[in-house]
Each structure stands twice: as structure tokens, then as C-alpha cells.
């Protein structure tokens, strides 16, 4: 790790001010990606702005037919929240299966979404559930937010403050973990809200999380895993590495999608 200047603002406004004033500043949320990268000397921000004391970025509340989660809420808090468990049990289950207990008690939803790791779990939930990413400047639909591997719509000085999940009728996430890292080798989140069905795939795409249109169309006709029989994901554009080639990932997308639908309908 290289030397850096550490800042700990207490409001979003202060954090945004530091971010714009200081050269080469990075936001620190749960630190589950930034700190290991800094320790390996792969990142060397001159200024680190720790959001840990920003109270307005924490907490979970039900607002009408939506659950709004503060960006600095940890995965363990989401997993253990009675509000989330009741309103969107599939989201609580997803959070409870991220990483390991250490990661879940440090890592935050805002950090995960802002980082947009192509194998992270939350981006799939945001995309499938049609979440809205709320920043200090605007509201961004999930469809517009995730723009490729580690790439988002966030602009300079922009900070995610909350994420709002409209309550789906049915939703579930199924992850096939990478045996080593236990990140998603393939993760599929399905959500049905009214007549709309959305299927989002993480871990597999060479450009990060994406929606699987063929599966959405098939499930819109009938929300059952049987509808997905014969619907095959394409291997083109998928990741290939020592753990899984593109063909195997494409196959797993189908398996995980069917299992997610089964879980969503309570099978």
C-alpha cells in the first residue's frame, strides 16, 4: 500500500466536496475491493474519502411499494433486515450469500453497485428488479446505470446515496459460485412484477451484467421453469477462463435461470 491522505466526512455534501476538491480521490465504502487493490499496489489514490460516518447513507426503509436501501448498508444488514425479508425475500437471500461473513459485515450495497464487478451479485438484482440508483445528483434507472465491466453511468463527483427496489411479485437469485473465489461464475436473477418479467445475468458476460431477452419473453408467456426448456443462452460474448469456458457458462445460465424461477414460485 502506498501512503495516502485519509478523510472521513459526515455528510454526503462534505464527501462530494472532498471528491471534487482533492486530486486523485477515491471513495471508500466497505473497502472489499478498494483495500485489497491498494494493498497489492494496483491502486494508489492520493486521497481516500471514507463514507463510514455518513449517517444519511445508511438504513433500510419501506416506501410504499418499494424498499429503499442506503448505499452504506452492509450485505449482512440487508440479509438480516425484516423489512427486506418480508418485502423482497429473494433480495435478502442474495445478500446473505455474498462472499463470506467477513465480507458481508464490511461490504456495502452502494460499494458493490458502484464498482460493478462483472461477477458481483447485486448488479443482477438491480437490473432484474428494475431498481433505481439514487445519487447526490439524480436518479438513474438500473437499465441505464450498468455500462460494462467495472463501468457505470456515475459521473465525476457523483455518489450513490440510496438504491430503491420496487417490490416484485416474485423474484429469486441463483448463483453458481466460482469454486475458488465464490464470486458468481454465473448468477441469474429473475423478477416478475405485474406482467413484466426481467432476467438479469451476472458473472457470465464479458461486458458485465446483462438482461436475457429470450428468457424474459418465454417467461412472460408463462412464469414457469418449463417455459425455459429449449431456451438456450448464446456463448458468444461470454467470459472464458480457467474455471469455465463460454459454452459451459452459457449452459449454466439456463440451469440457474430455471432454478431461480423454481425458487421464485416456491418450488
Amino acid at each position: 500500500m502506498y501512503a495516502f491522505t485519509y478523510h472521513r466526512p459526515e455528510t454526503v455534501r462534505q464527501a462530494a466536496g472532498l471528491l471534487s476538491r482533492k486530486d486523485d480521490a477515491k471513495l471508500l465504502a466497505g473497502g472489499q475491493t478498494l483495500l485489497p487493490t491498494m494493498k497489492q499496489r494496483l491502486a494508489s489514490p492520493g486521497n481516500v474519502v471514507d463514507l463510514g460516518k455518513v449517517a444519511e447513507m445508511k438504513g433500510i426503509e419501506r416506501k410504499g411499494r418499494a424498499v429503499v436501501i442506503g448505499a452504506m448498508t452492509t450485505h449482512a444488514e440487508v440479509a438480516g433486515s425484516p423489512v427486506v425479508q418480508e418485502a423482497i425475500p429473494g433480495l435478502a437471500a442474495l445478500a446473505g450469500n455474498i462472499g463470506d461473513p467477513h465480507v458481508r459485515n464490511r461490504g456495502t450495497i452502494g460499494g458493490s453497485v458502484a464498482n460493478n464487478d462483472p461477477a458481483a451479485d447485486y448488479p443482477a438484482a438491480c437490473l432484474a428488479m428494475g431498481a433505481t440508483i439514487i445519487t447526490n445528483k439524480r436518479k438513474i434507472a438500473a437499465d441505464d446505470f450498468f455500462q460494462g465491466m467495472f463501468d457505470t453511468a456515475l459521473e465525476e463527483g457523483e455518489i450513490i446515496t440510496k438504491i430503491s427496489f420496487p417490490m416484485p411479485g416474485k423474484a429469486a437469485y441463483m448463483k453458481f459460485p466460482n469454486p475458488a473465489s465464490r464470486y458468481a461464475l454465473v448468477g441469474v436473477c429473475v423478477a416478475k412484477r405485474g406482467s413484466e418479467v426481467r432476467v438479469a445475468v451476472t458473472g457470465a458476460g464479458a461486458s458485465g451484467v446483462f438482461r436475457w431477452a429470450e428468457a424474459e419473453a418465454a417467461l412472460a408467456k408463462r412464469f414457469s421453469s418449463k417455459s425455459l426448456e429449449g431456451v438456450k443462452a448464446k456463448a458468444a460474448g461470454l467470459n472464458a477462463d480457467i474455471h469455465a469456458d463460454a459454452e459451459y457458462r452459457a449452459h449454466l445460465i439456463g440451469v440457474m435461470a430455471r432454478r431461480a424461477v423454481d425458487a421464485a414460485v416456491g418450488k
Binding site: R41, P179, A180, S181, H243, L252, V255
Partner: protein, 787 residues
């Protein structure tokens, strides 16, 4: 059996300090005015070093020295050595390329040591390392084991075809004749995957030089500190033995990887004199993946010949063993004498012939890793045997049983003389525990759930208790493999045992103390085990090859015999009786036929005050030493049965049941032995299902962190069913065979035999990750659909 003697599951004495954070590992050692070393490592798999420019780096804050291979050469510091000479078939000695601790003119793997930066702090050393400008002339990498000898790229001038040796063992003509006479010949191509050792504690070293005494001290993470001192003194030339103390304090796991004498500790102790301050290095996990000696990495073609009645006639194997970029300390022995002599397995095979070609590649050195050669041999034998049973349509258990060695001693065609065993007893017990009869029913139940269930056997044998010194000397070892012990009885009867064995997880402080309790009748608290310090223990050979019970404890036993004999002499004076009338039992000396007794502690006091005897007739004191040289290897053996379920949709293999029935001879502490079995199986399952070192074509290490290198975790494993059978080992006084490596040796073929049984064909390579097993399952489903 007493509560703390031989056979008692005594809780481990050492665990209190470990689990309360009071252990003292090398990284816990800090010397006043200590400086820190950081190694600048090669980013290239293969390159010449044109220049190293340290001018900018050496002016950076806190930098004390930047040392390179030129500095080593100037100080006449020798290279690292390989201590086992192997001769090729044509009689020529193995081709050992120079192995300097810091590169001299060339780097040969990613992570190779280019320079060391010593600074006030580690951060300063790292900063300076980034400012060292190295001009490399990049050369092609040589990564593939099977084709390394055909590469046009030469790694060491000493080995123009990248071949260290072409070695063989066994009778070729007899084996060929056996294959000609065979009804069935089974052929297999096998890759034994390369593994990274991953001890929980990474390697570390603290070297310091005492100018006043002209004396060096090295704290290091070693399984054999005396061998480290011997090599550093006699071969590398740091200092004579009397001027070099090596201490291996608490060591957190080794699995073989801490046997070897590496560049880093050599450089730390040498550099401590250069900079006039203690020098510390602690490996980070990335460095461990890059530079700890890896294990396995064999490519083998093997064949088994069987007659019309199902009797094995012959086995032959051709193996290419990847030894990496340099010959590590015992690298040459692993794919030769620790491998081929085990190719007879538990079976009566009249003819065996093995050829082994060892090659250099531009990858990290490869050396012994838990099992060392014996897992590779067991995988060859037990895969061949399982496939043979399938091909000739015999039950795999029955096929094994009809070919088991049943008469002992048994001379195999490949060196080993099996001294004792009862392989049928282990098989019978294992079949019973595993409910082998009920397997068909369980398989049908799995099929109903869309799963493929399989069962796999592994009837392994290993050669442990390493080893008779003259025997290994005749096979090329540079050292003897005896062990030493000293029993120091203090005046009030407490006992210190000094042993040349070294505990790095095995629980010697408990097990060895149990032997002392059993023999001297003292309490566990009265016994202290001293190890790991060349200033305390005079000489020893260390811990590896499941040798500490069979060899290390035998040395203690021999020294205890001497203590008891001396005690009897003292007791004879004190009790005013003839020495021949003195008995010793349960901690008391007594005079036959009388009620006169003397406690062991009281006897010790009498030995030291020396009031009751004339010091010219009997020496005062109670301290005895012994060197024990074994008469044979020991041959632990057993049967493991794995039962797995494959999800054909995802390729995930779940291990549902694991039965292990092992014959380790006499067991001192069943709880510790069972723990060794559990840990060994976990590592073997790791090799079979999860672990594999991968280098890309450029020789970059792809699996350089836990993000990509998959270690076994609790949820990969079932609850093990462990049983034991016992045939005492006749080759040492305690009847011990050794247990440390058995699980890692037995497990891989059991897993692969179970998966191949589940999918119905043999095309499943290790590690059988979900990707591999999914493809195998698809092939099976297609085959089933076609039928």
C-alpha cells in the same frame, strides 16, 4: 492403557498456546534494530538480465543495501543444492543447472529472485524495488511438461534438451514378457496435476549476525533446521556449523514445502552481515504461490497386464516429471525413489518396469508435497486397477482382493520389502463401513433425483518411516535418514526430550510426551519436548515422509531404554540390591521379591546428588542420547472408499460418503492420528476436485491467489468414517508405521474412480472441477441416450 500413555487420545498440549494467540512463529520474532528485506522478482518466465540499475533506488529513503547475484558471487556464497543424485539409464549423472540464491545473468521463472532490497521498513524496501531498473532480454517460456524436452528453448546450458535425467527402475525384459503373455492389457494416460502447498503460515526468515562472536543466527520456517544448517554451512558456505545457529520455532504447516533450503533465508542470513543489522523477510501469499516449491506435475502413460483368470502379471509406466526451473533440495528423489518403488501397490505383480524422464521448465521448482511421489504412484496403480476391473467385468473389490499380497515379508520387483500388513482385513472392514452391498439401492435412489452416483476405491500403500541411511545412500541420497534423541532427566524427575524431529502441526509435544509417560510413569506435565533449535538439539534430520513416529520416536525409545538401564544401576545402590534384581514398572524401581521401591523422581535425585554410590563406579547424572537408524521403510496401507453424486446439469460433484480404513501399525494418539487422516483426505480431495496450478503459455502464473487457486473447504467434504486395522510394524521397536501422508495418497484415485463410475467412462482429469465433470456427464448422457 493409562490415561496418557500409548493408545490414549490425549488432548494436544500445544493447542492452548496456538488457539490463544500465544504461539511464537518466525514472523513473531523481532530483533532490535531490525531491517526488512524485499525481493525483487522476475516478471518474466525466462529472460537474460542485461543490466540492473540500482542507482536511483539505492538513494531512496531508508534503503540500506540492494544486493544482486553479483554480490553473492563476490562473497563466494554458493548456490542452492539438490541433495539426491540420480543417474540416468546410461549411467550419466543428472544434469543440475546452477541455482544461485539471486539470479546471475538469467531468470528462469516468474518469481525468480533478481535482487534483494534491505531497508528500514518493508514499505521503503518495496518503494525502492519499484525504482530498480532491470533490462531483460526476454526469452521464450517452456511450460508444458510433456513437450519440454522437445523445446528448442534451452533453460540451462547444462541440460541442452531440458532433461535432468532419463531414469528407470525394474526389469524391462520380464515386464515385456508379462505383457506378451497377458489376456487383457489396460492402458491409461494420466496427468497428475501440479499443486501449490499453501501452508497456513507463509515462509519467513530473520537472520542476524553477531559481530563480537562472529556468529550468525537464523530463525526460519523449516521442517528440518539441522539440515538447513548443514546445507547453509557445508554447501552454500555462509559460516561453519559452530558459527551458525538455525531455529525453527512454531511453524504453521509445511506439507513438505518447508523441507527445502530456499533463496530467501539464505539471503537474509548473508545480508545481515552485509548491512550489520538483523534482516527480516516474511512471504506474502502471492510470493508463496510464486516461489514455494510446488508438488506433483507428472504426465504418465501406464499399462497393466492381466491373465485370463484376473491375475495381475505386469505393470509398466512411462512418466515425465516436471521439476520446474531449478532442482530444489530433494526434487530428484520424488519422481524416482519415492515414486516407482510404490508401483506394485498392495498387489502381487511379478514384473514392474518404470521409466521416468525429469524435465526443466520455466516454472517454480517442484519438490516434495504431502506424499511426495507416493500419491502419484498410487494414482497410477489404483486408476489402472479400477479400470481393469471394469474392463474385465469383475467387482473392483474382489479384483483387488484376489491380487493382494497376503504373505509377508513380500519382496516386490521394485526394491521394496513389505514387512507386515493385512490388506484383506482393511478391505473387509471398509466394505462393511461403506455398506458396499447397499450401494446399488442408493444409486437407483440418486437416479430418481436425476443424479449420477458413483463409488470408487483406493487401496493404497506408502513407504514411510524414511529411511535406512545406508539404503538411501545407495540410492543417491546425500544424507542419512536416522533420527536423534536425548532424554534429560532433571534432578526432581521432570524430563526434557530433545528430538531432531520437528513439529509443524503434527502434535509431537503431545505424542512424544505420551511415550515418555508410558515408559517412565511420569505425568504429561512433567515432560517437555524440545525441538527446532540447533543450539539445543545437537543434530537431527527433521520431519517429513511420515517419519517422526517410526524413526523419531524410536530414537526416543532407545534413549529411554538407556535412561531406565542407568536408573536401575542407581536404584541398585539406593535399594542395596543387585542390579539384576531391579525391576522398573509404572514409574517405580523395585527389588524383586521385596516391597522395597524407589520412585523414578527419587531415583533421578539420587543420580544427581550421587551420595549413595561412588562416582568412579557409576557416573552421576541421568541423561542419555541415542541415534536410531531404521532397518527398513515402514508400509502403512489401507482402503479408502469414496461415494459421490454428480449433478449432470451443473457438473458439481458432491462427496456423500467417505470410508477410510488404515493400518498405521501401533497408534500412540488415536485422536491426533484421526486428525491427520482427515487433513490428508481434505488435501487429496483438493487435488482431485479443486486444486491445480496453471501457468499460461508465457509462463505467467494464472493461479496466483485464492481467487483462482481453489483450496478445499469444509463444505467440499463429508463427515469421514474412519476405521483402523492394526498389524504392528516389525521394523521398529514401537511397531509404528506412520500416518501423516496417508489421506493425501489415498484420496485422489478414490474420488476419480467414483466420478468415472458415476459417469460411466474414464475421461475425467484432475482437478475434476464442475467444468470437467459437466463435460464428462454430457458425454455419459449422450451415450445413455444412444443406447
Amino acid at each position: 492403557m493409562s490415561a496418557t500413555g500409548i493408545g490414549a487420545s490425549v488432548r494436544r498440549k500445544e493447542d492452548h498456546r496456538f488457539i490463544t494467540g500465544a504461539g511464537r512463529y518466525t514472523d513473531d520474532i523481532n530483533r532490535p534494530n531490525q531491517a526488512y528485506a524485499y525481493f525483487l522478482r522476475s516478471p518474466h518466465a525466462h529472460a537474460t538480465i542485461k543490466t540492473i540499475d540500482t542507482s536511483k533506488a539505492s538513494r531512496m529513503p531508508g534503503v540500506l543495501a540492494i544486493l544482486t547475484g553479483d554480490d553473492l558471487a563476490a562473497d563466494k556464497v554458493g548456490g542452492l543444492i539438490c541433495g539426491w543424485m540420480i543417474h540416468s539409464k546410461d549411467g550419466s549423472p543428472m544434469k543440475a543447472g546452477a541455482h544461485p540464491a539471486l539470479a546471475q545473468g538469467k531468470v528462469r521463472y516468474v518469481g525468480d529472485h533478481v535482487a534483494v532490497i534491505v531497508a528500514d521498513t518493508l514499505a521503503q524496501a518495496r518503494d525502492a524495488a519499484e525504482a530498480v531498473a532491470v533490462d531483460y532480454g526476454v526469452l521464450p517460456a517452456v511450460v508444458d511438461t510433456a513437450t519440454a524436452s522437445k523445446s528448442k528453448t534451452v533453460i540451462h546450458d547444462a541440460a541442452p534438451d531440458n532433461t535432468v535425467f532419463n531414469w528407470h527402475l525394474g526389469n524391462k525384459a520380464e515386464t515385456e514378457a508379462a505383457f506378451k503373455a497377458a489376456k487383457h492389457v489396460v492402458k491409461l494416460d494420466i496427468v497428475n496435476n501440479r499443486l501449490a502447498p499453501n501452508p497456513m503460515e507463509p515462509r519467513a526468515a530473520v537472520g542476524f549476525y553477531d559481530k563480537g562472536e562472529d556468529h550468525y543466527t537464523l530463525y526460519t520456517t523449516s521442517q528440518n533446521p539441522h539440515v538447513a544448517r548443514l546445507v547453509l554451512s557445508a554447501f552454500i558456505g555462509i559460516a561453519p556449523e559452530n558459527k551458525l545457529r538455525v531455529i525453527a520455532p512454531d511453524v504453521g504447516g509445511g506439507f513438505g514445502s518447508k523441507i527445502f533450503i530456499y533463496a530467501e533465508e539464505t539471503v537474509c542470513v548473508w545480508a545481515s552481515k552485509k548491512v550489520g543489522r538483523p534482516v527480516k523477510w516474511n512471504s506474502d501469499r502471492t510470493e508463496a504461490f510464486l516461489s514455494d516449491a510446488h508438488g506433483r506435475d507428472h504426465v504418465t502413460h501406464a499399462e497393466l497386464a492381466i491373465d485370463a483368470n484376473g491375475k495381475m502379471l505386469g505393470l509398466r509406466a512411462h512418466t515425465i516429471a516436471n521439476l520446474g526451473a531449478y532442482l530444489s533440495t530433494f526434487a530428484s528423489s520424488v519422481p524416482t525413489y519415492l515414486y516407482a518403488p510404490l508401483l506394485s501397490g498392495q498387489y502381487n505383480i511379478p514384473a514392474v518396469y518404470a521409466e521416468v524422464d525429469a524435465v526443466y521448465t520455466t516454472t517454480a521448482p517442484v519438490d516434495a508435497y504431502r506424499g511426495a511421489g507416493r500419491p502419484e504412484a498410487t494414482f497410477v496403480v489404483e486408476r489402472l486397477v479400477e479400470v481393469a476391473a471394469r474392463q474385465i467385468g469383475m467387482d473392483p473389490a474382489k479384483f483387488r482382493q484376489m491380487n493382494f499380497v497376503t504373505k509377508f515379508p513380500h519382496q516386490t520387483p521394485v526394491i521394496m520389502m513389505y514387512d507386515a500388513g493385512n490388506y484383506n482385513a482393511s478391505m473387509k472392514k471398509a466394505l462393511e463401513i461403506a455398506d458396499y452391498k447397499g450401494f446399488g439401492k442408493r444409486r437407483r435412489e440418486s437416479e430418481r433425483r436425476g443424479k449420477l452416483r458413483g463409488i470408487g476405491f483406493s487401496a493404497y500403500i506408502e513407504a514411510c518411516g524414511i529411511a535406512p541411511s545406508a539404503a538411501v545412500g545407495s540410492l543417491g541420497a546425500g544424507v542419512g535418514l536416522w533420527e536423534s534423541a536425548e532424554v534429560r532427566v532433571n534432578p526432581i524427575g521432570t524430563v526434557e526430550i530433545l528430538t531432531g524431529s520437528h513439529s509443524h502441526g503434527q502434535g509431537h509435544e503431545t505424542t512424544f510426551a505420551q511415550l515418555v509417560c508410558e515408559r517412565l510413569g511420569v505425568s504429561m506435565d512433567a515432560v517437555t519436548i524440545v525441538h527446532g533449535d540447533t543450539d539445543k538439539v545437537q543434530m537431527g534430520m527433521g520431519t517429513y515422509g511420515s517419519r517422526s513416529g517410526a524413526v523419531g520416536m524410536s530414537a526416543i525409545s532407545k534413549a529411554l531404554d538407556k535412561v531406565i538401564a542407568k536408573g536401575k544401576k542407581v536404584a541398585a545402590y539406593v535399594l542395596e540390591a543387585s542390579e539384576k534384581d531391579i525391576d522398573f514398572k509404572d514409574g517405580k524401581f523395585s527389588v524383586k521379591g521385596t516391597d522395597k521401591t524407589l520412585d523414578f523422581g527419587a531415583c533421578a535425585l539420587q543420580a544427581y546428588i550421587a551420595h549413595k554410590f561412588n562416582g568412579q563406579d557409576l557416573e552421576p547424572g541421568l541423561k542419555e542420547g541415542a541415534f536410531y537408524d531404521p532397518t527398513n521403510f515402514t508400509f502403512p496401507a489401507g482402503v479408502h472408499i469414496a461415494e459421490v453424486e454428480v449433478d449432470p446439469d451443473t457438473g458439481v460433484t458432491e462427496i456423500l460418503n467417505w470410508t477410510a480404513v488404515d493400518d498405521f501399525g501401533v497408534v500412540i494418539n488415536p485422536m491426533i492420528v484421526e486428525g491427520q487422516v482427515h487433513g490428508g483426505i481434505a488435501q487429496g480431495v483438493g487435488q482431485a476436485l479443486l486444486e491445480g496450478v496453471v501457468y499460461d503459455k508465457e509462463g505467467q502464473l494464472v493461479t496466483a491467489s485464492y481467487m483462482d487457486y481453489c483450496m478445499p473447504r469444509a463444505d467440499n467434504l463429508p463427515s469421514f468414517k474412519v476405521g483402523m486395522t492394526v498389524t504392528a510394524c516389525p521394523s521398529n521397536p514401537l511397531g509404528i508405521k506412520g500416518c501423516g501422508e496417508a489421506g493425501a495418497i489415498a484420496a485422489p484415485p478414490a474420488v476419480i474412480n467414483a466420478i468415472t463410475d458415476a459417469v460411466g467412462h474414464e475421461d475425467v482429469a484432475m482437478p475434476a472441477t464442475p467444468k470437467v465433470v459437466w463435460r464428462a456427464a454430457q458425454k455419459a448422457l449422450k451415450k445413455m441416450a444412444a443406447e
